[in-house]
């Protein structure tokens, strides 16, 4: 039953299983284990990014397609929800319409980009996605009337998903049972579902074809697979999953802006998360996203504490000054790529 849920693709390594279980339990019980706005926000962000990174892994790790437009699709889902909520008024219907519209738009754009550029060489596709994504990012920041420009959009989501809505008078294990909690579980449940769906797709006959294309597209064509159709389909699926992740993110944040969804920095983050976690493994997305976002949010705090602890020791407190957290984040990445060339998952499964 559990194996079926994981599409027969189990972690296949005891340490990996334990780590994944720990992450699952932490995320499932995050509001209770780590109460506080900031930690729950981090947990929700992790959930969303797991889906986003997993959908990117479908393209990069399984089909071997390099794309720089993933944040664009992510943004389409997010802006879909934002625009629908503004123009239709707050309500679940707006969330559903926005999510659907974002997903359909992402699929359509991915289809056009794919059919036009996936039949030629990989580098050309990468360049096209980069160009289109930059154009869209500029467009969004310039069309202030529609998109709010650089400031982004604030909007209202249904009251049932905000902290204004109380479901129980007394606290449950010290946590207020309100709309915000429901919102978190909405994000968590949808992310889990989407992740399991992506895991199923990569283990389906279709997913196997993608792997064969990654290994040798020439031969994949010669045994009867129309490579361009498969690549395009993979791009579309990946785009839709990214858009759905974007919608979840928009529902959680109640704000969208170029910096939270479309920026090139996020694209680089996604790339790093896939590589650190392990390409072509899906579970790598879980580990990569968790590690990265936790480091992004807590490294600074941790360093502050360390610097204080080392007060009086020469040089070290300066090196560990919280302002230098980006330096250390960088060092961590270089080390992890150096020591885990096949990612954390590849390493734990004992391949390189």
């Amino acid at each position: 039953m559990l194996t079926r849920l994981l599409s027969g693709d189990t972690p296949r390594s005891l340490p990996l299983t334990l780590i994944l279980l720990a992450i699952l339990v932490s995320l499932a019980l995050a509001p209770f284990l780590f109460p506080g706005t900031r930690s729950v926000d981090t947990a929700a962000r992790i959930c969303v990014f797991i889906v986003l990174v997993a959908s990117y892994d479908l393209m990069l790790g399984y089909a071997g397609i390099v794309s720089f437009a993933h944040t664009m699709f992510f943004g389409m889902g997010a802006y879909g929800v934002a625009l629908a909520s503004i123009h239709m008024g707050r309500g679940f219907d707006a969330l559903i319409v926005g999510t659907l519209a974002g997903g359909i738009a992402a699929a359509a754009l991915a289809l056009v980009i794919g059919l036009f550029s996936l039949r030629v060489r990989a580098i050309f596709f990468a360049m096209i996605t980069l160009a289109v994504a930059s154009a869209v990012a500029v467009l969004v920041s310039q069309l202030s009337g529609l998109t709010g420009g650089e400031d982004g959009l604030n909007y209202k989501i249904p009251r049932a998903l905000t902290s204004a809505q109380k479901y129980m008078d007394e606290k449950l294990f010290g946590v207020r049972v309100n709309g915000k909690l429901l919102n978190y579980y909405l994000v968590f449940a949808c992310s889990t579902l989407l992740f399991l769906l992506l895991l199923r797709i990569v283990n389906s006959p279709f997913g196997r074809v993608l792997q064969s294309i990654r290994e040798n597209d020439f031969r994949a064509e010669a045994i009867g697979y129309r490579v361009v159709y498969y690549r395009t389909a993979a791009t579309c699926l990946s785009a839709v999953a990214a858009a759905l992740a974007g919608s979840l993110y928009a529902i959680w944040l109640r704000y969208v802006g170029p910096d939270t969804t479309l920026s090139f920095e996020i694209m680089v983050d996604i790339l790093l998360m896939v590589v650190i976690g392990g390409m072509g493994t899906m579970y790598g997305a879980v580990i990569g996203a968790t590690l990265f976002i936790v480091a992004q949010n807590y490294l600074q705090t941790l360093m502050g504490a360390a610097a204080e602890g080392l007060e009086g020791v020469p040089v070290l407190p300066l090196l560990l000054n919280p302002d230098r957290w980006l330096l250390w984040l960088g060092v961590l990445f270089v080390l992890s790529v150096y020591f885990f060339p096949t990612g954390v998952v590849g390493r734990l499964r004992g391949r390189g």
Binding site: F206, V209, N216, I223
Partner: protein
């Protein structure tokens, strides 16, 4: 004579000013094994590429079972029954031996766009792939990654994938190249077995004359891209054209 399974009419390809394959007209009949010989650079592999679709023809046509396939993409030709094994081993290196063959079976059964079932749960495809591996003697290695396989076994897998494809036209491009003396006979035996099925035709590019002598029903000779001789092995091998071509002299000097 019944209509041929495969035929090429004036098949030509030019790369700039160079004519690599020059108006080759040839019919291939069911139950026949045709060896294609000629010196290096004569256009044998290019002729194969034109038939299986890796290179588009400049002129002429390719017809499979009375259907013109000259403009079809590679995958569609494969679907119609053109099966090709490659000269340089051309497999899915990071995947297992089993998966390589399984992918072929899956392509034949048109399950490629099945998104939501588990590939591992398609028993029909799995069993068929296992049967092919048992037949070529690679079943014991089925779990190994192809990149860890010896050269000889990679060649064997190449043949296994073609058998799994079960095409109408089998195309072998130097199937025993680089194989050791004890490994080569296994592959040749597999090809000999395929001959038993008289509804197919086999095309074989080969340099080794002893192999041709034992397997071929007919030999065609390509020279500078053009068809230089065509006939039963004994006759073609005795002809001046072949003698000269294999002595290394240019035909023009004859």
């Amino acid at each position: 004579m019944p209509s041929p399974l495969l035929s090429t009419r004036d098949l030509t390809v030019r790369f700039g000013g160079h004519v690599a394959v020059d108006h080759v007209t040839c019919d291939f009949h069911a139950g026949q094994l045709t060896a294609i010989v000629g010196p290096n650079g004569a256009g044998k592999t290019t002729y194969f590429n034109l038939i299986s679709g890796q290179i588009p023809a400049t002129e002429g046509s390719v017809t499979l079972k009375d259907r013109e396939i000259t403009r079809l993409p590679v995958a569609d030709r494969t679907d119609l029954g053109i099966g090709r094994a490659f000269q340089l081993t051309n497999l899915f290196p990071g995947l297992s031996v089993f998966e390589n063959v399984r992918l072929v079976m899956q392509a034949r059964r048109k399950k490629g766009f099945d998104l939501f079932s588990m590939a591992a749960a398609h028993d029909g495809i799995n069993d068929a792939a296992r049967d092919v591996l048992l037949r070529v003697g690679l079943w014991d290695l089925s779990g190994q990654s192809v990149s860890e396989l010896s050269h000889g076994n990679q060649r064997k897998l190449e043949v296994a994938m073609l058998i799994a494809l079960d095409p109408v036209v089998y195309m072998f491009d130097e199937p025993t190249a680089g194989m050791s003396v004890d490994e080569a006979p296994v592959v040749l035996e597999l090809i000999a077995q395929l001959k038993a099925d008289t509804s197919r035709t086999i095309l074989l590019v080969e340099h080794k004359m002893d192999v041709i002598r034992t397997l071929a029903d007919r030999i065609i000779v390509l020279h500078n891209g053009a068809l230089a001789a065509d006939g039963p092995p004994a006759e073609v091998m005795a002809s001046d054209v072949v003698q000269e071509a294999y002595m290394g002299k240019a035909l023009e000097d004859v």
